[in-house]
């Protein structure tokens, strides 16, 4: 599972990254978190508001700083549909 966080580096993106790390820890999953700050790469996903969370190249959230619990739920759902 590759998790990408789209954001230009403002506090919200850092917060989302932190919460994602927490979520992964709580689920005992070892996944790679990639931070995408380049606009060209972000544009490829079509998101309009940052920060955005992408799991295995699928956009699961945009424009919200999700809490660790919410992220954990999303990750679990993503694993089920694998």
């Amino acid at each position: 599972m590759i998790i990408k966080i789209l954001g230009s580096g403002c506090k919200n993106c850092a917060a989302l990254t932190e919460n994602t790390r927490e979520a992964l820890k709580s689920l005992n999953i070892d996944a790679e978190i990639v931070k995408i700050t380049d606009y060209a790469e972000m544009a490829a996903f079509g998101v309009m508001s940052t920060p955005a969370l992408v799991i295995d190249d699928k956009v699961v959230s945009a424009g919200k700083v999700l809490k660790a619990k919410e992220i954990a739920q999303i990750i679990e759902k993503a694993k089920l549909t694998d």
């Binding site: 230009s8 919200n12 606009y39 544009a43 490829a44 079509g46 309009m48 940052t50 424009g63």
Partner: protein, 334 residues
């Protein structure tokens, strides 16, 4: 009319708070508020508390409204209109669509990808930081409704004009190519319940207060200093309404600054109290919010220099014109 004035005084100006603080400063601290120290402390406490209360309430209400207009929906709505109406709608929606300034570039890309003319996108991008509903209400609280409405009107006119000019100049070719080559993502709009919206609004309040509290304190601090410590003559000499260069000075001082608009409001209040022209002060506020150096730097990544300079040039010119106009005609609004 009387009841409206009463509401205005109680809810926006919070005269009751001013009186309460006056009692506190005079009876508990034992200071005379007509003197410098007492006056500054009164100004500082009253303005800080007033701004934070208003901020929280206003952001909550506005975020609630904003929850109905995510960028995806705004984009869809704008796609149905053409010409100057699209610009106007873009400018109006810019005032209510939520986005943190770090999203302005992805938003620009998203709008352009969906086929919206860049002029419309720019109208949106200009009005968004400039005409922020919460700050308009704060303006009404500090000055009065007529000024607040006038500010909204000129802000929207500026956004529409700038956007239309950019469209007419056919500057699409100055947008970086990669902006056009991507897919349009329509994230499913989950139906939000009242509880969802309230939760989102509360988050916005906490988030924004956390972000701006320092700017507000600094702004009120500077405002208090100006209010009570800096003599009118000095301020008048540099920024007086009659000085032709005051608007230019205010505008160019504001451009490189990045401060939250809520922090500039108490400074604006104090300066006007010392004889600085209303237009000069509004120019400063507009320059700080619409043309912040950080957002210009970000914009440089998606548009080429010529378009960037055109954008900055038009908006700066607009702000200068508005500044001079308000200085000349502002007395009718006060």
């Amino acid at each position: 009319m009387f009841i409206l004035e009463w509401l205005n005084d109680q809810l926006l100006k919070m005269t009751w708070l001013s009186d309460l603080i006056k009692l506190l400063v005079e009876n508990v601290f034992g200071l005379d508020i007509t003197k410098q120290l007492g006056g500054s402390i009164h100004f500082f406490l009253y303005d800080t508390i007033k701004i934070f209360i208003l901020l929280s309430v206003l952001i909550f209400i506005i975020s609630y409204i904003q929850s109905f207009f995510p960028p995806e929906r705004t984009r869809k709505i704008l796609g149905h209109y053409k010409g100057i109406w699209a610009n106007l709608l873009g400018a109006l929606l810019g005032t209510i669509t939520p986005f943190c300034s770090c999203s302005s570039i992805p938003l620009f890309i998203g709008f352009t990808n969906a086929g919206l003319p860049i002029g419309v996108t720019f109208s949106f991008l200009i009005s968004s930081p400039l005409v922020d509903l919460a700050s308009v209400l704060l303006l009404a609280s500090i000055f009065n409704w007529k000024i607040a409405i006038a500010y909204v009107v000129v802000g929207v006119v500026l956004a529409v004009t700038a956007g239309t000019i950019i469209s007419k100049l056919k500057m699409e070719k100055y947008v970086e190519p990669f902006v056009f080559s991507n897919k349009v993502l329509d994230v499913e709009q989950a139906d939000l319940t009242v509880k969802d919206r309230a939760g989102f609004s509360l988050e916005q309040v906490l988030g924004i207060v956390k972000k701006v509290w320092l700017y507000v304190l600094i702004g009120v601090g500077i405002g208090a200093a100006i209010h009570n410590w800096i003599p009118r003559d000095i301020i008048s000499a540099i920024l007086g309404a009659d000085k032709w260069y005051s608007v230019l000075l205010a505008t160019f001082a504001g451009i490189p600054m990045y401060a939250d608009i809520f922090g500039t409001l108490p400074i604006a209040e104090a300066l006007v109290g010392k004889g600085v022209g209303l237009g000069t002060v509004l120019s400063f506020m507009m320059a700080v919010t619409a043309l912040s150096l950080p957002s210009i730097i970000m914009l440089k990544k998606v548009v080429k220099s010529r378009l960037l300079f055109t954008f900055v040039g038009i908006v700066t010119l607009g702000i200068l014109i508005i500044g001079y106009a308000f200085n000349i005609f502002g007395s009718f609004l006060m």
